[in-house]
Symmetry: C2
Subunit: 134 residues, 2 copies
């Protein structure tokens, strides 16, 4: 396995767009990138792995700041695992709360859709509900 990749290759390997990789760099999630004489970025396989880490985190819905925190922990192998646990737990709670509120919205919307019995918008339950004072 080669140990140096151009940004486009990294994009293919990680499923991350070239623009996003450059964005992660600008946001400080990636250490100083090596450059060729012409200024092309070159990534080691460790760097590629780090971008995979970020992608993983994004897929879990973590924001870049949170991922940054986890990367810092990962960079210090002696740090306390409880910190990572706290971050994940905090995110999980926020996620569960968000799911609940979306669930409530879906329920409300489902009711509206079920009430709709055709006809003109003048008597449409969906539109009327939105006009209702809450």
């Amino acid at each position: 396995m080669r140990n140096f990749f151009r940004i486009g290759e990294v994009a293919t390997l990680t499923g991350c767009s070239v623009e996003s990789i450059r964005h992660y760099e600008k946001q400080g999630l990636l250490p100083k990138v090596q450059r060729s004489e012409q200024g092309y970025r070159f990534y080691s396989s460790q760097a590629v792995e780090r971008i995979g880490f970020i992608r993983h985190g994004r897929a879990l819905g973590l924001d870049l700041n949170t991922i940054q925190e986890l990367l810092n922990l990962s960079d210090n192998p002696d740090a306390d695992c409880a910190a990572a646990d706290a971050i994940a737990s905090r995110h999980l709670m926020a996620l569960e709360q968000r799911i609940q509120s979306l669930q409530a919205l879906a329920d409300e919307l489902r009711q509206l859709v079920q009430q709709c019995r055709g006809g003109s918008t003048a008597e449409c339950q969906i539109i009327q509900a939105l006009h209702q004072q809450q």
Copy 2:
């Protein structure tokens, strides 16, 4: 009930910020607003009701474009109610899909958190999972 309100009063009545009201206007969701000689916006109670409609839609998670569509339907009482039904149903399906994917994320995250048994980040399951190739 008065029939003319300043923007700050409308904000209080609808629970909508002054900035958002001006934003809705700029986005074309509100018809031409009346102005005092000094340029102050003045809203009729119908306009206030329309802003309430928008707020309702936002609370249901609809984006402004979708709300615009519903407002157009509402403005044409003879239009077919099926159009509103389609919009609401489409949004409901998207919402249910989103809930499902968030639910899957939460499940994955919950597993990670449960696997965490303390110790240093070097052997932290959460961090290791993020490093894993998927």
